[in-house]
Amino acid sequence: MKIVQLLFLGLSLGSIYALIALGFVVIYKGTKVINLAHGSLMLLGAYVVAVVSEHSNFGLGVAAGLVTAGLGAIVAERVVSLARTHDHLVPTILTIGLDVLLAAELSRRIGTEVFSMGDPWGDARVTLLGTVLPQARIAATIVGIAVIAAFFVVFRMTDFGTRMRASAEDAETAALMGISQRRVAMVSWAMGGAMACIAGIFLAAFPNAGLDHHSGIIALNAIPAIIIGGLDSSEGAVLGGLIVGITQSLVQGYADALHFLGGNAAPVAPYVVMLAVLMVRPSGIFGSKELARV
């Protein structure tokens, strides 16, 4: 039964990683930038949720958090777009600068406090097939699935989704067809920011102890996920997130048997999986190959 438990845990954790990873991918598809300020955006959103819900209620807090993280992401996108360059490396490096700035200010505000999210699930839990799962985590999985499903509906079926896909595939042609690159960029970042906020709420909620100034770095866990799945693949992000969650959970669960890996190998294991995937598929499982124009 142990394996079932571990899979459950891995899936529930993986669904949060999937949300973070999807945020990365949406932004990448929209603008070809890996947003390395994602962790700080996540922290920003969750911080606002915590502060607002303390003074009013959780629903209002979530709304405020989503809006703040979305707006923060748009501001970030505007700054990134100021770098006029065709080199994809440059805007990605720029987001490191933004991350440092945002993280510095947030950690000054948060200081040594630990915020609770004020979420309705508290420390309640459910027992499923002998596995104890926190309700907040179940909610995370459900919300994660819902957000991801909604995203795919928007992406595949709406006009906006079509525009976004078009510009993801060939920005120049899309621009010629009258698709506003700028709007696509802003909306994709806003969506990415909002997803980060949702993930942040669940990463700070039970069974985690709450939000502190260091919570943002958990977003790093999603980085192997986006590479495993493929930078420009939404499906890949979801799959990658789940792979990372399950890998961590299994390696942790079988730590005794895996002792030759050294102590505490769980945080490192996803990176090993990532390298293995890259050796076979240099653009991830679902990632499209980079075109070589001669």
């Binding site: 142990k2 438990q5 571990l6 845990l9 954790l13 950690s107 200081g111 040594t112 406090e113 630990v114 915020f115 609770s116 508290g122 420390d123 309640a124 839990r125 596995t131 104890v132 799962l133 926190p134 985590r137 990463l203 909620a205 039970f206 069974p207 985690n208 102890a209 709450g210 502190d212 260091h214 919570s215 770095i217 958990i218 959970s249 942790q252 669960g253 730590a255 102590g263 505490n264 769980a266 945080p267």
Partner: protein, 411 residues
Amino acid sequence: MKPSLRSGMVAAALIIAVTASSCATRGAEAGGESGDVKTDFGVTADTITIGAMSDLSNVFAGLGRTLVDGNRLYFNERNADGGICGRQVELEVADHAYDVQKATSQFVDLEKDVLGFVQLLGSPVIAALSPQIATTGAITIPATWSTDWIGKEGLVVVGASYPGEIINGLDHLMREGLIAEGDTIGHVYFEGDFGGNALLGSQYVAKEAGLELEAIAVDPTATDLTAQVNQLANAEVDAILVSAGPRQTASIAGVAAASGLDVPILTNGPGFDPALLDTPVGGALKDNLRVITSYEPFAGDSVTAQQVAEAYEGDDPTIYVNYGYASAAVMGQALDQACENGDLTRAGVASALRSLDAVDTGLMPVMDLTDGSVMPTNETFVSVVDPDQAGGLTVVEEPFASELAEEFAAQ
């Protein structure tokens, strides 16, 4: 613009000319006598400068801040009473932000201005600076209770060791009848000089008292310990030890309570942070957590603890205010002794400190510092969570040293 050999030689000639004509501006080393005592570093006729290297802006900021507050409280008190050896004590605080590079550079700067260090926080920093501390001979009190650092020149670990705390804690649970021979205990720990060291304690007890031990290493970035708690639940543990950070303690307590794993949880001092009491896991901490320390919790019952609590002006006090005060008191008493010996040099302070066989700080058990190769005490308090108390802890068992802890320490 390519440097050629010839231009290089011209430059070299210039360098020689410049350096020869210059008089170097750097001063000579400190030393000599000041008033009635021998001195070298950090002591003038009217001040003694003591250093504190802390983390005030990174992961251990909460701990570091209150620790510095405690250091300050003690020296302020002494200064108000006329100072030490007729001199006012100045505390030079440096914030290394848990960054080894920064700490290394700061140390060079700070070291020549201070007599010793009343605080050195962060195990990587302690490790990185340990050779330089040995070279300078500056008495340094590291904010750690790991046996890894005893017997290292210059470093004076104050209090009982992490494994000693764990052993006493288990002894306490056995006496309370909460665990017995044949039971299983779980130990969740950070690898390294904190958790890895504390694990020696639980391993020792498991062997000596016939307990089964389920040890799980976790990473400081792991804040969701559901998997670990499940593992402990599967092993049907009767008690959980946590030698990790406050977030890990909180997650374990929370998940364990939610899973119906209603067992006592023990942690070392660094595993508890009162800031967590307002989060959803606060209740679980209150029900099951016991904290084992060799220093009295903030606002404890002792006279000194009450005085310190009264004098404390900051927000959100933690138990480290008291430890900071007590470790400063150890330094203070070493300075008093050195003054009496007429030798306030680093070497003088070191030998004075090592002559103290009964240091009473008012907040910690009486300590014997004469043997640098063992911990100065094996006695610890046991405290439980009390949200109504400032600092969040209240003592349930006054300092004691279990037989097992004494035997372990003697090894």
